[in-house]
């Protein structure tokens, strides 16, 4: 066993796992904080919706599409100057978070828009008929009704961010991806590669299971 995993530096793996956790956790938090309002706006300004605004929708939709169509590996590089401006460095755990949010937020925003569209129009109409204003319709009816879908969206976003975070190792982002690239790939330490991949798989599995449980808990349909 020792011989088989001779290259594996366990304390290093521990630090890298923690770094991945922090990168995914922080970028997920900011992706949700930014993506949720963008998703709600996309929904509301869309065709035949409460605040129909074709121009606003087109602009917002375009920005989201641009960010989503840039391959993440390119986005990582393109974002470097912005990241340096924003937090002083483009390296390490902190340096990885801005590009992760730039990739995660628009992705999540679309998922929010989709789950809001799945709310029965009749429910919006009924809430309007009760004399609700737009704010009350959003917070009283739309978001609670779309909650299971939004939680499923958070799960998918989190898993996407795990793979994005691993990719950020390429530009010196830190975490398990960084370890896999520096040791597993560049130094041909297959054992390190296997361990990091195994840990990432476990991480994704745990996220998916937790997400599914939450969706089930909040689904009343």
């Amino acid at each position: 066993m020792e011989a088989l995993l001779s290259n594996v530096d366990w304390p290093e793996i521990g630090i890298a796992s923690w770094d991945t956790l922090v990168m995914v956790g922080m970028s997920l938090l900011f992706s949700v904080l930014a993506g949720l309002p963008i998703g709600v706006l996309l929904f509301l300004t869309g065709k035949r919706q409460l605040l129909e605004q074709p121009v606003a929708y087109a602009v917002l939709s375009f920005v989201v599409n641009v960010l989503r169509s840039v391959p993440f590996i390119i986005l990582l590089i393109v974002m470097i100057p912005f990241t340096v401006m924003l937090i002083g460095t483009s390296l390490g755990v902190a340096g990885a978070i801005p590009p992760l949010v730039a990739g995660g937020a628009p992705f999540f925003a679309r998922l929010v828009e989709t789950s809001l569209r799945e709310v029965d129009r009749g429910i919006i109409e009924a809430t309007q008929a009760m004399g609700a204003n737009v704010r009350q319709i959003i917070f009283g009816a739309l978001l609670p009704e779309a909650l299971p879908g939004i939680i499923a969206g958070i799960t998918v976003t989190a898993i996407t961010l795990v793979s994005y975070a691993a990719m950020s190792g390429v530009i010196g982002g830190g975490g398990l991806g960084d370890l896999a690239i520096r040791f597993g790939y560049q130094r041909f330490q297959t054992d390190v590669m296997v361990i990091t991949v195994a840990l990432l798989v476990i991480f994704v599995q745990v996220l998916q299971m937790a997400g599914d449980r939450l969706v089930l808990y909040f689904s009343r349909k």
Binding site: D120, G122, I123, E125, A126, T127, Q128, A129, M130, G131, A132, N133, Q136, G140, A141, P144, E145, L147, F218, R220, K221
Partner: protein, 335 residues
């Protein structure tokens, strides 16, 4: 009182105005149950949504108790809507809220009720619609009839003066329809609130409505007391609806009539006359023989009525007809 003054509604489709409701005048009295019947696409859904301005009219005025609601600003409109309850074909309950929370929802939105007030009112309404045992359930755990009763309780939460029913029984089975209609009739009597009900089933109108408007292609084609419209339909659309509700096949009926001999009369009895043993005595006095081609006895809201189609042979036909008319029976000569 709800007054429509030349109210019209059209939708813009590809730059062209498609009329959904042609200019319409209509008055709905306070405290009555007013039915609007029509096929899908006839404009009844639009008509009922004009009353709480879910659909703003493209012309004309809507006055409710003297106030022109089409001039309301956004805040006034929201306050006004709290006084107009609405129930829907597919209930439109919030699936994420319990029965109690669904009923409390409009009161919370209004923002003028204390927690204690809301709690008491919800209890009262749960009892009113016999759902006290289901207070903590979610809508998905209820049957269709129970869901609609939650819808009714929710619509009544802010003590509205008008209740709009959008095909409220169309998704329910006949038995459940009966119980929901009974509940609506009770509410109308006890709370004195005006009910405007749209439906494509004449039977629903017959059971609960005082007056009815029949719609066809964006126009009100016939309007009046349910007994008049139901027993003596004038417009072809109305006739279709009445026949449909009595499951009369008009072609079959024509065939039957052709086979019959003599004079054919349609007699309509209303109220007490329905229960009088009239035919026999008239036949004896006038010497006519009769055979019954079709007939039914039923109720329009609380009034019993009967309608018989007879063929009469021999005897003194004039005497028979005047005797029937003298006994408060409406006589219509079919052939």
């Amino acid at each position: 009182m709800i007054v429509f003054d030349q109210v019209q509604k059209s939708y813009q489709v590809d730059g062209r105005a498609i009329p959904a409701l042609h200019p319409t005048d209509m008055t709905i009295e306070t405290g009555e149950v007013f039915g609007i019947v029509g096929h899908s696409g006839a404009g009844k859904s639009t008509l009922v949504r004009l009353i709480n301005l879910l659909e703003p009219p493209t012309g004309g005025d809507i006055r409710i108790d003297g106030e022109n609601i089409t001039r309301y600003n956004a805040a006034e409109l929201r306050a006004f809507r709290r006084k107009v309850g609405m129930i829907f074909q597919h209930f439109n309950l919030l699936s994420s809220k319990t029965v109690s929370d669904n009923i409390a929802f409009p009161m919370q939105l209004a923002g003028i009720y204390s927690k204690a007030e809301i709690r008491d009112r919800v209890q009262e309404l749960l009892a009113r619609v016999s759902l006290t045992d289901h207070a903590t359930k979610y809508p998905s755990q209820l049957s269709g009839g129970q869901k609609q009763r939650v819808g009714i309780a929710r619509a009544l939460a802010c003590r509205p003066t008008i209740l709009l029913c959008d095909e409220a029984t169309s998704a329910l089975d006949p038995q459940t329809t009966q119980s929901v209609l009974r509940l609506l009739a009770e509410i109308n009597k006890e709370l004195g609130l005006t009910i405007v009900l749209i439906t494509h089933e004449m039977d629903v109108v017959r059971r609960v409505c005082d007056r009815v408007a029949v719609m066809d292609a964006g126009r009100v084609v016939e309007m009046g007391a349910v007994s008049d419209v139901f027993l003596h339909p004038k417009h072809p659309t109305t006739r279709d609806f009445v026949f449909e509700s009595e499951s009369i096949d008009s072609e079959e009926m024509q065939e039957d009539l052709q086979k019959a001999n003599g004079r054919i009369l349609r007699l309509t009895f209303k109220g007490e006359a329905t229960y009088q043993p009239l035919l026999g005595s008239v036949a004896r006095a006038s010497g006519v023989d009769f055979s019954i081609l079709s007939g039914r006895i039923d109720h329009i809201k609380d009034t019993p009525y009967g309608q018989l189609t007879l063929s009469l042979i021999g005897g003194d036909l004039e005497l028979a007809m005047s005797a029937l008319e003298g006994a408060d029976v409406h006589v219509e000569v079919v052939r």
